[in-house]
Amino acid sequence: MSVSCVQPKRIADQMYVSFDRARSCVRRLNGTHEIGCQSSTSGNSGRMYMIDNDQEFNSFITDTKLIDSYRSFIIALNVNLFTTSYVDKLMTSLGSKLNGLLLYLKSSSSRPDYFSQDDQSPNHRYSYYLNQTQVVNWNPQGNGLFFRSFPFPMMFIDEQEDYERLVKFYRQFNISQSTPTCGLELSTFQNAAHTSKTCIRRNGISHSLLDSSETMCDPVGGLNVYSKLPQSLTIAPKIRQPKSVILILAATDSFQMFLKEKGPTGGAQQPATALIIFLSLAHLIGQEQNEFNQQDKEIIFVTLDGDALDYSASFKFLFDMKNGDFPTGNRNEDPIRSEHIHSIIEFQSLSLTDKLSLYAYPSALANQTFIDTLKQNNPMIVSAMPDSPLPPASSQIFLRETSSSSFPVYILTSNHENELSNHYYHSFFDDPSTLAINISSLEYNSTTEFSQWVKLIVEPFAQTLIEYFVGSTKNVTIKQEIINNLVYCVLKNINCPLIHNVTNQTTGNAFDSFNETSLPFSINTYPTSPAVTSRFVQSILSYLLRDRMLDTMNLTEKACEQLSKNDSFRSYTYVGGYTPSIMSDAFFSGYCVRSYSRSVSSMSPAFTIDNYDLSQTTYPVWTESRWSTISLRLFIIPTRKHEIVTLVIGILLLSTSFVVCLILRYYTKISLLQPSSS
């Protein structure tokens, strides 16, 4: 027996360096195209070449000798060079030799000023938007690379340690062409291909001897959540009055071109900022519920999950509304249709800016008094020109599906001269640092510039709503603590005391596995994604809008259950109670929470309508591919000379020994070599 290895373990461990924390670009499909990237089944490998700046880029492109001497390349590209022009130039000069792209970020302080792979005009690529003739580039720095299809895999190294390891090995071995050089292998095989229709059809086909099929792709969809004050219900035989419902909208999803299993998803400015304002406003409405309950108007808070890709969630919402399924649940509650909607208020693309823009459309239906009161109460708000084009917002679909003739929409957004203030729109760089928050030192109760800014927006807004709908002027205040807690939970750790205080033990325990994770904002699919974001929002929203009368009653869990037996419209849970939101003087060990909330699937109607042909363009049909492993490995590529020498020696040995044996058999009488039958 012979020993020729260093340690009695697998050789492969000594040959490959893996990077487990890399982000990758995956494949998504819609009715007509596929977007994103993928590799071959066994991964794409090639010679690694690092390009750090424009100069190195140009010298590489013109170095035809180097390009010709290798079969395939994996280019490690500085993230600052990730623009359409560089990528296109690289693809044309390397052609099919470009086998993969690895982007890297040197350090968190060297991130580019603008980084967005969404279109310049987001959600405007296909026909699913409100047609307003004038096209505005809300995201002028967007390069649209997210919506292109690449024949090679793309991955992103965003951890500084990983970058340093990569550079160390690269510099060590990238000396000349006669010594072994570094190679990379990107393995991101995606199951889905072609279009959603083809992929969904393939989902049902079984390719093996067993009658089981492998799912290739999943439809995009999560949960739309809506909640309102539990006292404001229109139950038969009472009939709902026209123009009696106000919808307040916020999004709970986003996308990023490069994602990873366990890692921040971005989305701090869009949609987290809007969501935090949305939830704080819900608290204020809940706090002032006595004022609102006396009116015949309902304020419904709605979150939409899936609007980042062609407004799928909004289409579903309006589809449900047309079919009398809004609100879902007990049939005795009078359905809400477009004629019952008074107006829509949406919080969209907000950033830490000192001026906010208010869009009202159509100007014929918008109520100028409401706009003026808003501006008067909050001087930060500036109203846009009447009938100016709307920014990318879910309200567009509410208008589109009702021909902009039923109700006005009011959109509050942060932009400056038709340009969104978010430099990292729909990318994972959109993190709390863009909101002047130092995330590592943020505590559950920390007051930050951002949370104070939220207070300055939410209080006047609630005040305006009261003035406009109730008719009385009242100073409303929200405790800074509540906003601080919301900011912490959403941006840093969803397993926070707040969520445990507002849910019962079973629901609260489900968040333990997300400890030290911020609220994820990404594309959710049905049924694979757990949609923890929607569950989180629903729990908090329903608690903040609860019937506060029950806060004053010391009820046991049994008594709470008893109440729920007689009520089929509202839900009852027994929770620990979130003290900052409780207004009474007495504090109990547990509270019975009477609330009204519903969660509905937000998959595009295309997937739920029977016999809907997925190539039709009535509704968006986005799907996301499934994949099994995603890996990134670094290794040494042997030199051509070494490979050929090994092969030649092998062939020589085989042929020489064959010839020698042949000679010995036919020209000598050695009995061993003579054929016989024993």
């Binding site: 027996m1 260093v6 040494i636 070494h642 050929i644 092969l647 000598t668 061993l672 016989s676 024993s678």
Partner: protein, 243 residues
């Protein structure tokens, strides 16, 4: 390409040997397979020993000598088995078989058993390495010597050939009388131990493979010469034979 090259280096010569000396002889094929099986059992026993001695699992220097001993013990056990088979065949109608050309050629049997032993030993030595070679990379990212794969292939080839000749020496010596019954096996055990322990030198990060490879092939030449001597060759005989 490297994988194909190393496979050819390690198995090229044994393949030719197989085609010309074993393929046409069913009896030799059976002997080679059974011999390989005995080697596998010896490997099982040595791995049980390695597994049992928990504190020394990381010390290859402990496991290697015992593995060598176990292999030689099983080589001897296979010899006993062959002897029994020969005895039984002789009792059965040997003349009939001889007429058909089925002769119990002791030399061929020793050769086939050595070959079987060697082939399985070489395969186990290299097949894991070959499978890791099928990936896109080669060894070296952590500073290991790039000659690792070629060296492994040559060592595997050396092992296969050495085992073949050890088999011949071992059995031919045991068949003879007198002092040869002890010298032959002793030389086999000694050279086997020497070769294996020499390869322990390859455990460093960048070892000089040339030491173990050169010594291995020198040993091989030595074994070839000793085999010829045992078979009764001297210079005159060789000249006669070749003519």
């Amino acid at each position: 390409m490297e994988c194909a090259g190393c496979t050819l280096i390690a198995f090229g010569v044994p393949f030719s040997m197989f085609v010309f000396t074993i393929a046409h002889h069913p009896f030799r094929i059976i002997i080679a397979m059974t011999s390989a099986f005995f080697w596998l059992i010896s490997l099982l026993l040595s791995s049980l020993l390695w597994f049992a001695v928990v504190p020394l699992r990381n010390q290859l220097a402990f496991a290697v000598p015992f593995t060598v001993l176990f292999q030689e013990i099983f080589r001897y056990l296979f010899y006993r088995l062959i002897k029994k088979a020969e005895f039984a065949l002789q009792k059965a109608q040997m003349q009939e078989l001889t007429a058909k050309g089925m002769v119990f050629d002791r030399f061929a049997v020793a050769y086939a058993s050595g070959y079987g032993f060697g082939l399985i030993s070489g395969t186990f030595a290299i097949v894991n390495v070959l499978s890791d070679m099928t990936g896109p990379g080669t060894i070296g990212i952590f500073g290991h010597s790039p000659d690792f794969f070629i060296a492994t292939a040559f060592l595997a080839l050396c092992i296969i050939l050495l085992n073949t000749f050890w088999g011949v020496i071992f059995y031919t010596s045991l068949d003879k009388d007198g002092i040869h019954r002890f010298i032959g096996p002793a030389i086999v055990v000694f050279t086997h131990m020497l070769f294996s322990c020499m390869t322990l030198l390859n455990r460093k990060s960048t070892p000089t493979y040339s030491i173990s490879i050169v010594i291995g092939y020198v040993l091989l030449v030595g074994m070839v010469i000793y085999t010829l001597i045992l078979r009764g060759f001297n210079i005159n005989n060789i000249r006669q034979r070749l003519n």
